[in-house]
């Protein structure tokens, strides 16, 4: 109980600080930060999979499903409340992940990665052909409302930013509690030694399924958020390069922290924005150099900075004994 209160307290404090900062930020940065939260959510799902020893190169599928489900609900059925739309996006992503999980949870390593990517490309191909929902151009989504309040063009970015920050804080806190729980520790153990975990009485298949569905929910949430941040949804959400970028973010963030992925996503978005503006023909080069530097100097990602600090203060599990 104490840990739950502490984690949610820290999340609330962090959210309050970032929301306060948001009021002083220019619109372009609010938009960039909101989009970064969307990507951070998908990356956090990949982190959940990485903790179980798997990397998905197809999270774009659930990202796209979340974006299309919430976007269609808003544009075709007139549902405009962002909270309902986010819930629908997350649910749709989780539902598709749950349907796919019995198949994909049987695979490991490169086979898991390739199968996940193949499935996302199947969706891309299907959506690009279905002209009723925009084909390869996709479709525009209307501006959302916030508990019935329509803030107008000027304030929508700020309102969406506030929602994104609250969502990021809530999801980071829930994932922190899950990662630190008994089942979270078993997921880590599965990454290390599946045979042993099975011989202790746990099902590695179930662990993988649970993490996979969680990653689907998070990607769906990210898709819904970014669909409304961009005001447009298209099949490129499911393209393999979208999934690859999020793996990039997850590696930058590392799996030690649930906050680091959001920081990593923001850094990537900023590097992309600035290098795209000043070096439009070679921004990928800058992104690549940046990733190389992180891999060399922080091989376990930004989150290892937190973990190192925590390690100095309280060595590993001994922290509880000394508290």
């Amino acid at each position: 109980m104490n840990q739950t209160i502490r984690v949610f307290g820290l999340a609330a404090l962090g959210a309050a600080i970032f929301i306060a900062i948001g009021f002083a930020l220019p619109l372009w940065l609010l938009f960039t930060a909101t989009k970064a939260v969307g990507f951070g959510l998908i990356a956090l799902g990949i982190v959940a999979l990485m903790r179980g020893g798997l990397v998905s190169f197809g999270q774009g599928l659930y990202y796209c499903v979340g974006a299309y489900a919430s976007g269609l609900l808003a544009s075709r059925l007139g549902v405009s409340d962002i909270f309902v739309l986010l819930l629908v996006g997350g649910f749709a992503g989780g539902l598709i992940a749950a349907a796919i999980s019995p198949l994909i949870a049987r695979y490991r390593g490169i086979f898991f990665a390739m199968l996940s990517m193949a499935l996302s490309m199947v969706l891309y191909g299907v959506l690009a052909k279905v002209t009723a929902i925009g084909g390869s151009d996709g479709f525009n989504v209307p501006e959302p409302t916030f508990f019935g309040w329509a803030p107008g063009v000027e304030s929508t970015d700020l309102a969406l930013y506030v929602v994104a920050i609250v969502l990021a804080a809530l999801v980071a806190a829930i994932c922190r509690l899950y990662f630190d729980s008994g089942p979270g520790l078993v997921a880590l153990a599965s990454r290390e030694n599946e045979l042993r975990v099975e011989y202790l009485g746990a099902s590695v298949f179930s662990v993988t399924q649970r993490n996979f569905i969680l990653s689907g929910v998070l990607a769906g949430l990210g898709g819904a958020l970014n669909g409304f941040a961009l005001g447009h949804v298209d099949p490129f959400f499911s393209y393999w390069t979208t999934s690859g970028e999020v793996v990039f973010i997850a590696i930058l963030g590392g799996y030690a922290s649930t906050i680091a992925v959001f920081g990593a996503a923001l850094v990537v978005e900023l590097v992309r924005s600035f290098s795209g503006q000043y070096f439009p023909e070679s921004w990928q080069l800058f992104l690549g150099i940046f990733l190389l530097l992180v891999i060399i100097f922080l091989p376990r990602g930004f989150g290892s900075l937190w973990a190192r600090g925590a390690g100095r203060r309280k060595p590993a599990a001994a922290k509880e004994r000394n508290s």
Partner: protein, 249 residues
Amino acid sequence: MSAVVLEVKGLMKSFGALVAAKDINVNVTADARLSLIGANGAGKTTFVNMVTGYLKPDAGQVLLDGKEITGLPPRRITRAGVCRSFQIPQLCETMTPLDNILVAMGIAGGGGSLFAPAHSTAAIHGAEEVLARFGLESYADQPVNELPGGVRKLIDIAMALASRPRVLLLDEPTSGVSSEEKFPLMDRVMAALEGEKAAVIFVEHDMDIVTRYADRVLAFYSGEIIADDAPDEVLSDPAVQKYVTGTAR
């Protein structure tokens, strides 16, 4: 004499033309300290693997407390109460011994809530108690992959014991351990098992270990049990001396 906890009836297993288990029948009582001996390829590990679900027998039955567990997946056999350690310790290498034990205890306790901390004070105290029984307290917070072989063996056994087994199978607990360390290691294991209501079955090649720690011995040869009795009786059996210990004159 305590009750029979594990019954093995007519167990058969072949790998192509090689018969690894031929009509194996064994009853194991709840307080047994049973050693399996035999040359390499005699069928000891095949027996352990069939009882623990790693291999599915071609025929025969394995019963735990009268309930059939034949051919179930390892995790279900473990949950039923049959746990094992491995010849090569199967550990979570980058985690600490404490975390390894916490994983084992957490799974044995039903996995725990999705949001209840794995490192709660109560859980840590429980894991520390298990480590203390094996004399491993001083290693609790070191990564497993930095620990010596004998310590790793003990952690492997401690993890199996943390699952609260009714039957504990130890696959060559002293293999890969120096001759000076073998007896201290087995002393630790047997001391840790004191008070546990678990039958212990261990595969062993060192006959000094067998005579000191087992109260019953099964000798395997070519997939068959050729002797089943007290250690002194089995080790003086001419067939065992000829095919297993190589001491026949």
